[in-house]
Amino acid sequence: MEPSIYQSELNLEATELRLGLPGRTNNKRSSPEDRSMSISISKNSSVDSSGPSNATDHDDDDDDHQNSVQPAKVQVVGWPPVRSFRRNSMQQQKQKKDEHNNNNGDGSAMYVKVSMAGAPYLRKIDLNIYNSYSQLLNALQNLFKCSFGEYSEREGYNGSEYAPTYEDKDGDWMLVGDVPWDMFTCSCKRLRIVKGSEAKGLASL
């Protein structure tokens, strides 16, 4: 066990501590302090592929901004250490969700037009800020100063002056409230508030 035997063969440069992917020669570090600074993305340095940095932790913007622009997340193979089956599974689920979303999948805003029979102009609302039908319907009722009454699976909005309907991905006009909320937000292209008498036709189908 004599390191000196092969030390003479060692090319010091080959064993010098390097930061960076194999093959790169422009990143050198000499101490742990340097390493932490060069791995994390500080305000003054540019993002490069040096080590396992999570760019979101050192965003230029205020960390509290949820919708701040994320610099490209640097990917290191196998980190975080999530089993590839789980990783693939999550990716597939996310892809499915992105396909459903109206937008490019970041889910930040989903604006749809809302029209009302007799109203002079349309409105637009962001479906993503609501988490449930009751929240959405309250908002619509406030926006258009109308009332929908109680929803029931069998009767729809029977007995109320107005009723909310929406156009789905297939181009059909549906009564709001039949399907689960998430399914609704994925398929709703636009909303229309119709007179109660018109809606009765939908509900009795």
Binding site: A14, G78, W79, V82, S84, M90, Q91, K97
Partner: protein, 571 residues
Amino acid sequence: MNYFPDEVIEHIFEYVGSHRDRNALSLVCRSWYRIERCTREKVFIGNCYSITPERLIQRFPSLKSLTLKGKPHFADFSLVPHGWGGFVYPWIEALAKGKVGLEELRLKRMVVSDESLELLSRAFPNFKSLVLVSCEEFTTDGLAAIAANCKRLRELDLQENEVDDHKGQWLSCFPDSCTSLVSLNFACLKGEINTGVLERLVARSPNLKSLRLNRSVPLDALQRIVARAPQLVDLGVGSLVHDPAMETFAKLMTTMNKCKSITSLSGFLEVTPRCLTAMYPILPKLTSLNLSYAAGIPGSDLIKLIRHCKKLQRLWIMDSIGDKGLGVVANTCKELQELRVFPSDNIGQHAAVTEKGLVAISMGCPKLHSLLYFCHQMTNAALITVAKNCPNFIRFRLAILDATKPDPDTNQPLDEGFGAIVQSCRRLRRLSLSGQLTDKVFLYIGMYAEQLEMLSIAFAGESDKGMLYVLNGCKKLRKLEIRDCPFGNTALLTDVGKYETMRSLWMSSCEVTVGACKVLAMKMPRLNVEIFNENEPADCEPDDVQKVEKMYLYRTLAGKRKDAPEYVWTL
């Protein structure tokens, strides 16, 4: 030394079950070795290349249950290239030839072909239990063979395998005469299954205790299936997306109310958060809950659910629960022993976990002994508090998403925090580190982690001293896996005898050279030293001074293996 006839000793040995104890018995004397080997029914082989199947069969003629592990652990994280090895076929072939009365086979990280499953299904008339974890290369055709031919099948448990779905009707291959199923888990299958066939199978399996469905089983089928199996103890829900007919949903809730025995719940591969209320009737009795695949459930819904789970001992969940949610877990789940918090894909979203969640857990759950925690940050102060609150840790795995992040409050490395963990948790057997770490943490580990058997290190340390502290200090070390650390030849070669006391060593993207590996291989003939040469052409012998990208060494009695792919050099 023997004052008892062999039959008496045999009888006493029947009470000794654990592999370690059995191994210890066999070392006492020649007659105990003989008696032990003749009566051993269960064997565990942590590295399928450490011994040949023939040798195993020769030593243990009464073998009934075999557990085999193949690829190194880091294969889970895509660090082992395709085709490395871990083929189960030679084992099944040898067991069949040796007329072993195999009843149970458990495989982890192995390559399982349809041919192996075919052979397995035909060669062992008493075969009862097949458990495959993180395996690959088989398809539903192989499963069809198992279903059709294993007349006494009790358990078919598939966990996180990559299975090619050939859209065949493998479930239909269970004959009508098959009524012995106790456990059926096909949650990892991606394809459709015939729910009618499944219902009939469940209906004729009165002993069925564990059933885990895949994504393709919808809510209405779930209700019918569970209605036929009120004796279930463990349920894996496939899809819980509300279907328009509200009656089915109400029916499901009524059915769940009738399930008085379910203590383990998992799955939710597709779920509408609102549907979780159907599970509320069984929550108070749950001891195990796995929501780690249920993407898209908001933290608030998770919290509402957890409040009902006062008896939980094991919880696997996503970080969308947030620090606040972990606080609720801490207040509710006083019996908690194992916690795993997985990262959701919500980059930049607010709900993630930090050191605060972990501290809360440590304060509320004194029985906690196993932890896997993916988080955005960790502090030394938090780790020191956790160490004080939970001295009973057996497994402690921390994965900070930014692998070299220091303590954000002090900007210091996390040496002191992990040092506190190893000093306080004297029973610690498994440890995974992350965050900014110097050689000091390894000094602590070498000094205090006396029971440590498995250590995983990534992006840590400053010099060879770090690795040497561990190799010198941890007497019980069995598996050491290192990636992207500045450990080199000195560390590797200082104590080569150490590696024969361990199962394996993995080093990738470190400072070890080909020459040093050659020296090691020469000195230790009973180690297989494999280096992976993915970038070089296969016949190009690498230079001695070249750094090794990936090295995997393991002790073996089987010699150099014959099934290594071209890119693997066994030195």
